[in-house]
């Protein structure tokens, strides 16, 4: 069942049950009241009649006048006055009057009683006058009950019927009204596909739940669009990167095969091809690493890593690749407690991330001084790598994490633009921060912050 119908049904049931409850209460209360009221009227009649019939002449006239003037004749009104019967005659009297014996007995005992047979109402009192004891019985049909209550009942039933229609209309309207924005969102989202990711949902300026939902959708679309864009760029960049060595391999092979050559020519050509193939290999390997670090599909094993040891290892690695480097390790701010030097992480990945940064620093500063400093605050280990190289142009610094992006001043240097994205991914995996700041032609400062693993000594 659709939630729309559910809401209609629910609303209808709630409204109707309330209306029925009210109507029932009103009906019951008025019926009750009309009974009580009618008995009272019968009793008044009984008393006045008894007074007129049994009292001495003195003030009877006044009462008679009152009775004639104000007490109208009730339908089917019957008044009987009888001396209080005793013993067996009670039953006989009762039979004669067509009332139960119990009724007469109650009157005798309590002085007054009421009794009802279908629509005929009886009221009786015990009356003592001039030393004698009488029972006065008045019976009449309850006109109010037969007519008014029936009228009320019909009124209530027709009101309920009308309100059913009304409630249905109202709840239909309410559910429509509340689901309209949802419907709009659904149609709108259905329209959005990979071709028109730029489309957005319209957000009302009210801060209700649905506009929050729409906003959330829009945010998600923003992210999706960005991801799509990156993916597109990545694919085109990657294919371009891979294409270059491939083209030169093919070209070289084509040229060398065009006519018979000397053996040394073949060798030269094959050396060139090998170089290009190695480049290709490096690039694909870097690509693989990037993929491994950026998708969380694979679970990476995290272990205890000592950062000072890591920095020393990285220096050793970089020494092999750039033997002329001038790396200066600055451990002057090293914390005294080794507890503060341990992070929870994957050593290979951290090594890769750090060596990327350090090698970049060496490469882009032409082996000028590179300083690596290490310190720890209460929650983070901070590694600062500073070089005096060419720097990054200010307006390009926001693109440095895009795969294959290379700053405009890096043409003289070899590279693929994969290092920093890998580093960022690794640092992110370790819940750390990577901050890069730079002044063009003065150098780059990279700050890597990693949360301290809570290892005890």
């Amino acid at each position: 069942m659709k939630s729309k119908t559910k809401i209609i049904l629910l609303l209808t049931i709630i409204f109707l049950s309330m209306i029925v409850l009210y109507s029932g209460f009103i009906y019951y209360a008025s019926a009750n009241y009309s009974f009580v009221d009618f008995y009272k009227r019968l009793e008044i009649r009984a008393v006045t009649t008894a007074k007129i019939a049994l009292e001495s002449e003195q003030d009877i006239n006044a009462i008679r006048e009152v009775k004639q003037e104000y007490l109208e004749q009730l339908p089917n009104e019957k008044i009987s006055i009888l001396p209080t019967p005793y013993g067996d005659s009670v039953r006989i009297r009762a039979n004669a009057l067509d009332v139960p014996v119990q009724f007469l007995n109650t009157i005798k005992q309590e002085g007054a009683s009421e009794y009802r047979k279908n629509n005929l109402f009886y009221a009786g009192i015990r009356y003592k006058a001039s030393g004698k004891d009488y029972l006065v019985l008045v019976s009449a049909e309850n006109y109010y009950h037969t007519h008014h209550i029936v009228y009320l009942r019909n009124l209530l039933i027709s009101a309920i019927l009308i309100s059913i229609a009304l409630v249905l209309v109202v709840s239909f309207w309410v559910s429509r009204k509340s689901f309209q924005p949802l419907q709009d969102i659904t149609t709108r989202v259905n329209d959005i596909s990979s071709e028109n990711l730029h489309m957005r949902l319209s957000v009302s300026h009210y801060d209700d739940e649905l506009s929050i939902l729409a906003k959330t959708f829009n945010d998600m679309l923003d992210r999706l669009e960005a991801a799509f864009e990156t993916q597109k760029n990545f694919v085109s960049n990657a294919s371009h990167e891979l294409n270059t060595p491939l083209t030169s391999i093919i070209g070289e092979a084509d040229v060398i095969l065009s006519k018979p050559r000397q053996a040394h020519e073949y060798r030269e050509a094959i050396i060139t091809i090998l170089e290009e193939a190695e480049k290709l290999d490096k690039k694909t390997r870097a690509l693989l690493f990037l993929a491994q670090t950026s998708y969380n599909g694979k679970v990476v094993k995290f272990d205890k890593v000592r950062v000072d040891q890591l920095v020393l290892d990285v220096k050793e690695t970089v020494d092999k690749i750039y033997p002329a480097n001038k790396i200066m390790l600055d451990f002057s701010l090293l914390p005294e407690s080794p507890e503060k030097l341990k992070v929870k992480g994957n050593e290979q990945l951290l090594h890769l991330a750090l060596s990327n940064v350090v090698m970049n620093a060496c490469k882009y500063s032409n082996n000028d001084l590179v300083r690596i400093a290490l310190g720890a605050s209460d929650h983070q280990i901070i590694i600062v790598i500073k070089d005096r190289g060419i720097g990054i142009p200010e307006d390009e610094i926001k693109y440095i994490y895009d795969p294959y992006f290379r700053a405009s001043n890096t043409n003289r240097f070899e590279g693929y633009g994969i290092g920093l994205p890998i580093t960022r991914n690794v640092v992110k995996m370790h819940d750390g921060d990577l901050l890069v700041s730079s002044v063009l032609n003065q150098g780059v400062t990279v700050e890597i912050r990693l949360p301290i693993g809570k290892y005890k000594l």
């Binding site: 600055d330 002057s332 701010l333 090293l334 914390p335 005294e336 407690s337 503060k340 300083r371 400093a373 310190g375 720890a376 605050s377 209460d378 929650h379 983070q380 901070i382 600062v384 500073k386 700041s437 002044v439 003065q442 150098g443 400062t445 700050e447």
Partner: protein
């Protein structure tokens, strides 16, 4: 135990004085007090709602706190305590009282660093110089990397020049 007073302007570069001071007092257990000079507002409502811890925390950037933590970790066994305080007096006598009140033993000031005092803040160096307590000047080369920003890296990068 020794108590050392050092002026600060809540910049990371100024913490180099602390580093220098700690190097000079090597091997001694030290209570460090960083002091910032400020003329407090004398409006009655400001005084009513004034809270020193709150005021101090508005002055300190997150990086400054982190830098202090780094220093504390570095000189863990040497630093007995590191507190930051305000000096709100108007004359030398008040400053002497402040020194006595904190039972300060020695003063350290930067030699050439120019304090960047904020709103209502004032330079404490003249008071330090006029004081009778032994005072040491700390010198470091200004960071040549013109980052222009108050970066945590400053703490690391100027270190070897002390």
């Amino acid at each position: 135990m020794k108590t050392v007073l050092i002026p600060t302007d809540f910049s990371i570069e100024s913490l180099n004085t602390v580093k220098g001071a700690l190097k000079q007092c090597e091997g001694e257990n030290t209570n460090l007090i960083l002091v910032y000079g400020v003329y407090l507002s004398d409006s009655i409502t400001d005084l009513l709602f004034f809270s020193k811890p709150k005021y101090l925390s508005t002055l300190q950037s997150e990086k400054f706190t982190q830098a202090c933590e780094i220093l504390k970790n570095k000189y863990d066994s040497q630093i007995h305590s590191l507190t930051i305080d305000l000096f709100t007096g108007y004359n030398q006598q008040a400053f002497e009282n402040f020194l006595a009140g904190h039972s300060v033993d020695e003063l350290f000031v930067p030699r050439s660093y120019r304090f960047k005092t904020g709103k209502r803040g004032f330079n404490l160096i003249p008071y330090f110089r006029k004081s009778s307590l032994p005072m040491t000047e700390i010198e470091w080369r200004e960071s040549n990397l013109a980052l222009g920003k108050d970066r945590l890296a400053e703490l690391f990068l100027v270190s070897e020049n002390l």
